[in-house]
């Protein structure tokens, strides 16, 4: 009995000493960023991480979580920020709830788009025509997480365009793309709640249905949201996140690299930072 206890203590000491050695590599401090595993958010967050690590010398931890968790963690100050706040529509409910606990640093990419998406072989072009073809779509609009703003907007659209005989199915981003993939494989008609930039547009030929009544709004922006008090604790990080802004084209470049088989997303982000020194310098003014 005594021998065994001694062994355990020895092992524990070994663990602790080994890990102490690995844990304290020199760095300016830690920055935690939450994101959701959407391709746009992954690309953006990795580029921010690359700048913070390579150019500013911070140690960055990126946490892939669910959208609600990302907002809740930023509001409670558990993470320093996030680069995936879809406003004004998609994340409206989260923003309303946590508005007083977070700081909105404005858009990092403008001109994202949300709406109803169909494969290009579907012969209708407007949401107004959906009702007349309800049967061709098996009476379903394939949706995503019930909390997303795009779902509420879709319900509004069903009322506004008086789409009879179609119901909005709740699910998640993953079930939506899976249903889309399956329908395209069998050349079936399908309509989903969609947003761009998103990898589905790279993989299949898709189009947004026109929205003559403008229910889904003109366009979405992706915002950088940080916790309250970041500008006091880490002014340098705050300034960078505040300046960080790129175009959809630049973002889609990185997203395309990420789609290559066996891609290492962080390596791609580092490559982007290396290839665009002037842009990065402008973020670090």
């Amino acid at each position: 009995m005594r021998g065994r206890t001694l062994w355990v203590i020895c092992l524990m000491t070994l663990f602790v000493s080994v890990s102490l050695g690995t844990a304290f590599a020199g760095s300016k401090g830690k920055v935690r960023l939450a994101y959701v595993e959407w391709d746009c958010a992954t690309a953006t967050t990795n580029v921010a991480r690359a700048v913070l690590e390579e150019r500013l010398g911070y140690d960055v931890e990126t946490l892939p979580v669910a959208a609600a968790a990302m907002w809740a963690a930023t509001a409670s100050g558990d993470v320093d920020g996030m680069l995936a706040g879809w406003l004004p529509v998609t994340h409206a409910s989260y923003f309303k709830r946590f508005k007083k606990d977070v700081e909105d640093l404005g858009p990092l990419v403008t001109g994202a788009k949300i709406g109803l998406v169909v494969p290009t072989y579907v012969t209708i072009n407007s949401i107004a025509e959906l009702g007349a073809h309800a049967d061709a779509f098996s009476g379903r609009i394939i949706g995503i997480d019930p909390g997303a703003g795009i779902m509420a907007k879709t319900e509004d659209a069903i009322d506004a365009y008086d789409i009879r005989g179609m119901e909005l199915m709740e699910g998640s981003g993953a079930t939506m793309t899976a249903a889309l993939a399956d329908a395209i494989k069998h050349k079936k008609w399908v309509v989903v709640t969609g947003w761009a930039p998103h990898w589905k547009f790279g993989r299949w030929d898709l189009k947004f249905l026109e929205d003559p009544q403008g229910i889904f709004g003109a366009s979405e922006d992706i915002h950088t949201i940080v916790r309250k008090g970041l500008h006091k604790d880490k002014p340098e990080v705050y300034r960078f996140l505040d300046n960080f802004k790129w175009t959809r084209k630049q973002m889609e470049t990185v997203m395309a690299w990420d789609q290559e088989p066996g891609a290492d997303r962080y390596a791609n982000a580092k490559r982007f930072v290396k290839e665009n020194p002037d842009l990065v310098d402008s973020w670090l003014q």
Partner: protein, 280 residues
């Protein structure tokens, strides 16, 4: 007759806000300590080269399973497959998470089970709470846990413990209650104190049942890893979740297989320990 709607949800939200306001500093500091311990464990495990780790685990399985050759071979083959699929560090982090969560669940659960077996009042209080813990969907307390334990592994451990602790409590309680009356009376007749009776008679006899409970706890902890990855637990669950979101069923299946392999190894080893252990 008009009965107004009971504002249950609002009440719970204001209780939560109050708790966050006044107690989150305590849970936060607990969180920091746990996080540190966990990351030490993890980096310690990752510090070993995979082949050495596999050899060590295989040796441990060989010893614990009383030289069961088939299980040892399965362990080596399974871990080599995980390594080959490039899931090594995810697996190590999942093992660390499950081990820590299970340890906490056992440290709380077994004493509670003993208490519930020995005291009727405690039994009456504990059982309905256990029903809650086992059936309340994890998603309900996943997000509210963030202000208390932060994003990441500690929140994951918290929800895993809640979900996986009940069998440890229930089966500990059951095992002690199943000790035959005659033996209890016998021990009392020879003048043993309550403590002696517990340690020398009831616990040894209840050990197989308690081990079955611990086994269940480990399995339930493993079944939580994908849900826990929604709040940043990473590991194998995170790999599954990433694959699901990117619509890569093959990759999801690989990571799922990794979870299965870890589960089988832990399950068989624990069964071997529990099945043949008598009072030592």
């Amino acid at each position: 007759m008009h009965i107004p709607r009971i504002p249950l949800g609002d009440g719970i939200e204001s209780i939560l806000d109050f708790l966050v306001e006044h107690f989150s500093f305590a849970t936060k500091s607990f969180s920091v300590v746990t996080e540190k311990g966990l990351s030490w464990l993890e980096s310690g495990m990752k510090f070993l080269p995979p082949w050495l780790f596999i050899v060590l685990v295989a040796g441990l399985v060989w010893y614990l399973s009383k030289r069961n050759r088939g299980l040892t071979i399965f362990t080596i083959a399974g871990l080599l497959l995980i390594w080959n699929l490039g899931l090594w560090s995810a697996t190590v982090s999942t093992i660390a998470l499950v081990v820590v969560a299970t340890c906490i669940a056992i440290l709380i659960g077994v004493p509670l089970g003993i208490g519930a077996a020995l005291s009727h009042v405690m039994y009456r209080i504990t059982m309905p709470i256990l029903d809650f813990m086992q059936t309340m969907p994890a998603f309900v307390y996943l997000i509210p846990a963030i202000p208390f334990f932060g994003l990441g592994k500690v929140s994951a451990i918290f929800s895993t413990v809640i979900f996986s602790m009940p069998p440890a409590i229930r089966l500990t309680c059951l095992g002690i209650k199943q000790v035959p009356m005659e033996l209890n009376e016998c021990a009392e007749a020879f003048g043993s104190s309550r403590w002696q009776k517990l340690v020398k008679l009831q616990l040894p006899l209840a050990t197989p049942t308690i081990m079955a409970g611990i086994n269940q706890t480990v399995m339930l902890a493993l079944s939580m890893v994908v849900i826990a990855s929604m709040i940043g637990a990473k590991g194998l669950g995170g790999e599954v979740w990433k694959a699901i979101q990117r619509l890569q069923p093959g990759r999801g299946f690989e990571a799922g297989l990794g979870i299965v392999i870890v589960a089988i190894i832990l399950d068989r080893v624990l069964q071997k320990i529990g099945g043949s252990s008598t009072s030592s």
